[in-house]
């Protein structure tokens, strides 16, 4: 810890850091607190109540949107993580592959293109080829931009792994596939789980791409929340938002703990 006698100490930086964390968490805290508010007001406190949660959970539209969101997130996470794992294994372990930087660049391309551009480009493409699969369209779009989020933790884990273990397995007459199944994948698992979880929340939370690509009847939770927010601020929005927030925080924390496991 830096003390005033530390050579690196700079006065005021500790206060900026404190302010920074308040700035980061206070708005979220306010949202959560007012989701338990008894009155309709979303900003004046008048007692504890779970009324808005009960209302939100009983709402048919919310149930349908949640179901859509979960279906989309599960499928796109599966696709994106599978493709990302295969690509990461090849780029990290196969010495025959040339132009690794180029392939690595393509894999993280979805992170470089602004979301609004991806959104309208995907919409245009789907309409140009006449693709209309309902939730399928959204699943395809999500799988694409989830790839880098799954790829980066998996690749990081692979690069940090001791390749001697795999070499030892090969020395002991295990073939390529057995080595992959019995040595590489079990060691890689924390990276895969962590990558999959990140892909899952990125899909669950996506708004702008879904907004442009979604057809009628494929409303997801963020889109539903957006439609409510546009009409007005209600405690019900706070309640659903708090639930979604809680899910994300939970998944990220677990992903972090799993990913950092030695």
């Amino acid at each position: 810890m830096t003390q005033k006698n530390d050579i690196r100490w700079l006065p005021g930086f500790n206060w900026v850091t404190l302010f920074f964390f308040l700035f980061l968490y206070l708005p979220l805290f306010i949202l959560v607190v007012f989701s338990f508010n008894a009155s309709r007001s979303a900003t004046v406190w008048s007692g504890f109540s779970l009324e808005w949660y009960v209302k939100a959970f009983a709402n048919d539209d919310i149930q349908r949107a949640t179901k859509n969101s979960l279906i989309i997130a599960v499928f796109s996470t599966t696709f994106a993580t599978t493709m990302a794992t295969m690509a990461a294994l090849t780029l990290s372990r196969n010495r025959a592959v040339k132009r690794k930087n180029l392939f690595g660049g393509v894999l993280i391309l979805p992170l470089m293109v602004p979301e609004i551009v991806t959104a309208v480009a995907t919409l245009t493409f789907f309409s140009a080829i006449g693709l209309s699969l309902g939730l399928g369209n959204i699943i395809i779009a999500h799988s694409v931009f989830c790839i880098p989020f799954a790829y980066l933790p998996i690749r990081a884990r692979l690069d940090g792994m001791d390749e001697n273990l795999e070499a030892a397995a090969r020395d002991l007459y295990s073939n390529k596939w057995a080595t992959l199944r019995l040595v590489t994948l079990p060691l890689l698992m924390p990276g895969i789980v962590s990558g999959a979880m990140l892909a899952f929340i990125i899909s669950l939370d996506d708004f702008i791409i879904t907004l442009m690509v979604a057809e009628a009847g494929s409303t997801t939770l963020p889109i539903y929340i957006y439609s409510l927010v546009r009409v007005g601020i209600t405690p019900e929005v706070n309640a659903i938002s708090t639930v979604l927030l809680g899910v994300s925080v939970l998944i990220v924390t677990v992903s972090y703990l799993v990913g950092n496991k030695k």
Binding site: P11, F20, P27, A87, V106, V117, A119, V120, F207
Partner: protein, 297 residues
């Protein structure tokens, strides 16, 4: 086995991800590039005739006599987007640099906790995080409510639906992108360099200015780009915190593909955003080459 066959085999596991991104990301961007040079269809979509109208509309408007006259309306929106994005980058830097430095000076255990605390909000829903600021900024919100109750003001201040609110929302959203790369650059900072500077009679701030900041520069540049790119094309913050009157490029693009139904113009605008991003990445690549470093993951 032929050489080609061997090549395919060694790349086989790479193919799905590359093809998926190629078909559903690169091809669509090329399509909107083409669309930006076509004429708009009557009900959305395009007509297959070559036209540069979409790009001309950025600067000119047809008047009653079918003459092209200079019209800065869209140029203003583009400038506002760049301006708000630059303000956000500066805001993130001013707030993020001290935080990154402070964290880099902590013990490893504490560093990891701080880093997790910075990452958690980033992974929560962008829409919800922006919505939180409506609760804080609106006329009956917490800031105005608090100030009125304290008797400091009588009328609520207009905080929401301003450019300042948009910039605040963007800073809030993207400040982790600034902190993390700067932290990565400072984490390996050799404290002996600071000691040397202090031994040579520089005070704390001179050492910061001449030793720490130059060493943090790759992180500062990477962070600025990571904030600038999404801020430029932002949709949610301008839409929710800026209201209708403070349009930015992102919302303008969205509008062309929804209610305005002018796909070529929307495509042209998307290309303008892409061009600005590419320009930015180009300068980054050049400076990274000069510094001999790259983005630190």
């Amino acid at each position: 086995m032929t050489q080609f066959g061997a090549k395919i085999r060694s790349h086989a596991a790479l193919i799905p991800a590359t093809i998926v991104i190629g078909i559903f990301m690169i091809v669509p961007i090329l399509i909107i590039l083409v669309y930006s040079f076509l004429a708009p269809g009557d009900y959305g979509g395009v007509k297959p005739e070559f036209s540069t109208d979409a790009y001309q509309r950025l600067l000119f408007q047809r008047d009653l006599f079918d003459q092209m006259v200079f019209d800065p309306a869209y140029l203003k929106i583009a400038f506002r987007s760049v301006w708000v994005a630059v303000v956000s980058v500066v805001g993130c830097l001013v707030l993020g640099f001290p935080v990154a430095y402070y964290i880099a000076c902590q013990s490893e255990e504490r560093r990891n906790i701080y880093l997790l605390l910075i990452t958690i909000p980033f992974w929560t829903n962008l829409l919800i995080r922006t919505y939180c600021w409506i609760l804080v900024l609106r006329d009956t919100g917490l800031i105005n409510g608090g100030l009125i109750r304290l008797g400091l003001i009588d009328e609520p201040l207009t905080l929401l639906y301003t450019e300042g609110a948009i910039a605040l929302g963007l800073i809030y959203t993207y400040v982790p992108f600034m902190v993390l790369p700067i932290y990565a650059a400072l984490e390996r900072l050799d404290r002996r360099l600071i000691e040397a500077a202090r031994d040579l009679y520089s005070n704390r701030w001179v050492a910061l200015r001449h030793v720490v900041i130059p060493l943090a520069m790759p992180g500062i540049i990477a962070g600025s780009i990571l904030v600038y790119i999404p801020a430029l094309g932002a949709f949610i913050a301008p839409d929710l915190l800026g209201g209708g009157k403070n349009l930015m490029l992102g919302s303008l693009v969205q509008l062309q593909f929804s209610s305005a139904r002018n796909w070529p113009f929307g495509s042209a605008l998307a290309m303008v955003i892409m061009a600005m991003v590419l320009l930015c990445l180009f300068f980054y690549a050049r400076s990274a080459k000069k510094n001999g470093g790259g983005i630190q993951h």
